[in-house]
Symmetry: D2
Subunit: 301 residues, 4 copies
């Protein structure tokens, strides 16, 4: 991703003029405001605004009358307690607004998270740029042989090169025709709302996306997961980095209890108890299906 000089100048200007506020301020997040963090070949994530910090989570949990006087160590403990016991409403008291540029097929997954506010660039109203996601060769992976919904080994160099050639050529041709359709030189020019249908799903779009911290954590748990598609996972990972600087205690609790944690079924817990009592439990004696047992073994490392 390269910013135009105008874009960079705009960011510099926005960052040059701090103003006084009485609101809660997160120093870590102030450092990120407006900056474009590159993701994939043309995408980015940038923070446009935020509300609240770690202390705001605790303040809401206490519905205290003021900002509270507890030491940071107490705040950290309270945040861990809230996360552990699925008390979600205090985390909803923080909010963040991001500007994201991303391929359309990633946007289609992302938008399935409904509890957020979105303003997307309108291809009915405006003309899309000639920017397509073309994967790096080592990211061109084969269909997984064990998982219907995933990818396996990287393609060999010859097959990879063939795929890249098609992706580039088809995108270029589709965009050439898109431009030719909407052009008004010597013709009427097709409506933009129609012409866009010729564009492939790797074209970039952009949106403002605003979400509260609880729902953002839910998004991150699913999309920063190893099973998420690589092209959305890199966005989730970039956002994780930003959230860590915004609300460090909340993020640490999220990392321990959600990203690094696991949910075990009643059957799995029963097996665990037998194993801790010294019994050698096998899939056959576990009461679990093969798939469950495999996942259970993975959790136990």
């Amino acid at each position: 991703m390269t910013l135009t000089p105008e874009q960079q100048a705009e960011i510099d200007e926005l960052r040059a003029t701090p103003r006084p506020t009485l609101r809660a301020v997160s120093e870590g997040m102030e450092g990120h405001l407006y900056k474009a963090n590159p993701v994939l070949d043309h995408g980015f994530v940038r923070v446009i605004d935020y509300m609240g910090d770690d202390a705001a989570i605790c303040q809401a949990a206490r519905v205290s009358y003021g900002r509270g006087t507890k030491a940071v160590s107490n705040d950290e403990g309270l945040i861990r307690y809230l996360m552990r016991h699925w008390h979600s409403t205090p985390f909803e008291m923080c909010e963040v607004k991001l500007h994201v540029k991303l391929p359309v097929f990633v946007a289609r997954q992302w938008i399935r998270h409904r509890t957020a506010n979105v303003n997307e660039y309108s291809a009915r109203y405006s003309i899309l740029d000639r920017e397509f996601y073309i994967p790096e060769p080592e990211k061109l992976a084969a269909q997984s042989v064990t998982n219907n919904q995933g990818r396996g080994e990287a393609l060999g160099p010859e097959e990879g090169a063939r795929v890249l050639e098609w992706l580039k050529a088809d995108a270029a041709r589709a965009y050439d025709h898109y431009e030719a359709m909407i052009g008004q030189d010597g013709q009427q020019g097709l409506a933009r709302e129609l012409a866009r249908m010729n564009l492939p799903a790797n074209i970039y779009t952009q949106w403002y996306w605003k979400v509260d911290l609880h729902n953002l954590f839910h998004f991150l748990r699913l999309r920063a997961d190893a099973h998420a598609q690589y092209e959305i996972r890199v966005y989730a990972e970039e956002i994780c980095r930003l959230v860590k600087d915004w609300v460090p205690h909340a993020y640490a609790a999220f990392e321990d209890y959600r990203l690094g944690g696991a949910t075990l079924s009643g059957k799995a817990l029963e097996c665990l108890r037998r194993m801790l009592a010294g019994e050698a439990v096998t899939q056959e004696t576990s009461g679990m299906s093969k798939g469950e047992w495999r996942e259970f073994q993975a959790v136990l490392g």
Copy 2:
């Protein structure tokens, strides 16, 4: 849209075996269940399930203990009262589940209505069919000259033919390469989650969409409107036809108060009062901008 013999047989079988239920039954909706109503060239809308009827709306409004004994004419009046005064919760007590097949660029607009439940065909997991929306020639319209977000006159025959040729050829080539990328004959085969990015936005997808009647009316008000894009409006109009048979009183109230109604601003109401008192109000003396005045005139016919 043509159904395969297997699909038609499945529908016939589902419709052949009524079962007894004690729930509220809408005769009008039973007649539609499972049938595929064609929309655009390959799309459809079909009703998979529904909950409630006109009486259920009234019953919820009364939170009566049983089904109530009021005559139908009273139900009709109550429903009109509820609609007029924006009492939305009784309408939320009805629910419908639709199976919709639609082009991806229409799906992208549709999904912006967040208060619904969705299960979409997964192109990570499965292979998409070779089906693309190719507009009928008379629907190929030029960009509107007065409205940045709309379409105007139909394209002339030559320009239209050129556009159609591009749409067809680009879709065919993109799909050929999609197939070639995922094929596993003599190669590893690209992961489906990656290959899909080569497909244009006029390819068809499908989903189950479940929504309550209040939120459905909100969707229909926006999407059955004359300013909505034609390709989503035809879906909304088809759904209107189904809803009319499902909850006739609620639909009639919706038609009068929402589809056929208009919201006037305080300024517009003030102008109206002056006009009814005999004054000849003009845009200049109205206090409205030119755009508002034009829309106000349109409302007054």
Copy 3:
């Protein structure tokens, strides 16, 4: 709870007249329709309507074109897979509408679950009945000494009797005055929307509550939990019984993975691995706080 003869007659009539439908039918749920299941001293839960069954969950997961032909054993496995991997959208495809009568202080907790549709009896419009929740003596528990948000031992008989006397007398007096305020015999009569403010939180209200199965499971996981307040837990348990008959496979999966399961943090999983490798881990060497360690021990039984 005692039904009036009119109410019972109405239920009998509603249950006497099955009608044919082409929709999915759950035999287990048909047996419950309209019947009032008593909860607490004057409350109840009754099923007014439902949409979908176990097969509908699978059908949505497959977005198959028809009802699908997989054997029941496959459906069961698919449902367990969906629950285990937090695939929530197929469960959202089922919906249920309940009529619930419950004390106001229970309603206040219940309503915090926002993803549902509600029509409550209006005390602005109508007059509330003289019905109050008066706990059974053995349910009158002391404040917990270990948990700020819970109850401990039952009160001794003398203290319990004193409490009961106050609850009864205060409710009776409040209702007498409520009636006296709104009465129009020889006076104007206070507006009902004002008079209601004199009534205590153990008065009964009622509502229609409609929710999809995914969000219902979320409600039940929190409210059928041992830490939930007894007075809402008994409602959740009654609903569990109904859901078990409605969607037996989904309920069994919910029971194993949610009600009977537990979420372990990254720290807890690390401890487990050390314990399974033979190490004697203590709270001091676990890296967990005392509270976390106590909860971890409870999970391991």
Copy 4:
């Protein structure tokens, strides 16, 4: 409402220490931060935090890359356009967090607006204060004779005095017994989660309430309306005053198009056209019911 010296000191301290931020700042809203605005006899509304300003609405509408360079007059026009055409997503890009103290019967109405985040003071965990809403004598109104859901004339002095006496005495007695039940002096002490059931609906509770501007406008349209109950309307009106200082252009558009506007049905528009053409339309010839006609006449002034 009187603040304790500690509360006032806390507010003063919070307001004494501005910090630099790069985020959008609303000068008008900064002036309100943390201050308690009295409502009713013991209630208040205070702003804890906010996100965005008028410019942020426009920025989202344009999904512009930077803050945009359009003059304020353009922003105002754009905001009016967005409001007029029900483009709600740009307004969702602003967010506000309020701390509200309010009687329980008001809270019960308020919470029905589901699209918001809430943290309420917990009466399971904590002890409620002895603070009850006791209406001013002139607010003690009789049940409306024309509207089942509203109030009419003020009560006469004697009847009013009788009502006030009951409200005060019953609240005092209920609180005395609440305190006596939970006391642990010489007895076990009833659990707080049970004792609260003895408290009437005019006791005060408090919560943090966070909502986006679009949903806040929806709340204000319904609750600042003349038909809303007085006791919630005064909160809505206080919030209107705050929003006006926060986002002046958006509030002005809201005032014109929503608060001061009206929605007319298709039938009503048809009548208007006939009236403007000189016809003397009556209820009988209007096609409207008596209720609709009366409301139509009210709109026309």
